[in-house]
Symmetry: C2
Subunit: 120 residues, 2 copies
C-alpha cells in the first residue's frame, strides 16, 4: 500500500479542499465506495455523506486549516494525528484518527479528539 504518510496527507487534503467539485474528486480518489467515517461528534457512510461531513466542518470553522502532525501504519492499518486551527493559532483542535486501508483507499476512519478549546 502507499505509505502511511501519503495516505494521511491525501486525507488531510480532502478536509482542506473548499472547492466542492475538487473535494468530491479527492474523496472519490482516496476513499472506497461505501467507506465509513465516525468520530465523537458525527458519522457517515459513502462518498456523499463523507463530503457532507467535511463541508459541515468547513462551514463551522471558516478559514481554518488542517495539518498532519504524524502518521504511522502497518499492514492495512493506519494512524495519524492532525491539528486544526486558524492561521494565528493553528493547533486549537487536535485529534488522532485510526484507519483501515484497502487497495490504497480508505475503507474506514475512526476519529478521536486529543485537544479541544476550553470554550468550545
Amino acid at each position: 500500500m502507499d505509505t502511511a504518510n501519503t495516505i494521511a496527507e491525501r486525507y488531510i487534503a480532502v478536509w482542506n479542499e473548499t472547492d466542492a467539485a475538487r473535494r468530491r474528486a479527492l474523496i472519490a480518489e482516496s476513499w472506497l465506495d461505501g467507506a465509513t467515517y465516525v468520530d465523537p461528534l458525527m458519522a457517515g457512510k459513502g462518498h456523499a455523506e463523507i463530503d457532507g461531513l467535511v463541508s459541515a466542518v468547513q462551514a463551522r470553522f471558516p478559514g481554518f486549516r488542517f495539518a498532519l502532525l504524524a502518521a504511522d501504519g502497518y499492514g492495512d492499518r493506519l494512524r495519524f494525528s492532525w491539528k486544526l486551527g486558524p492561521a494565528d493559532n493553528d493547533d486549537m483542535i487536535k485529534g488522532t484518527d485510526f484507519a483501515v486501508v484497502e487497495d490504497g483507499r480508505l475503507r474506514e476512519v475512526n476519529g478521536f479528539l486529543d485537544k479541544v478549546p476550553a470554550a468550545a
Copy 2:
C-alpha cells in the same frame, strides 16, 4: 457499554495475568469469540490465539507489567494508551490501542507503538 476505562483496565489485566487458567478466564470474559488482535509485530484471532500472543509477550518480557495511561471512547469505539516495563523503568515501551466493543466485550483491537527502546 461499560466505560472506556473499565474495559481498558480489564484488557490490561489480561496482559498482566501470568496464571494461565486465570488469564484464559479473563480473555473469555473480556473478548468476544472470534475477536481479532493485530499490532505491528503480531496478530491473532479467537481466544486461544490471543492467549498465545499474551503468553509470548510475557515470556519475552518476564516480570514486566502493563499499566493503563489513558482511555477514551464513544459509541462502540475505544482508544487507550498503556506502558510496559520493569518496576524500575516502567515506561520502557508505550503504545496506543484502538478497539471496537460489542456487548461489553472486545471485538477487535489494533495496537500501535508509541515508544520502543533504542536497543530493542
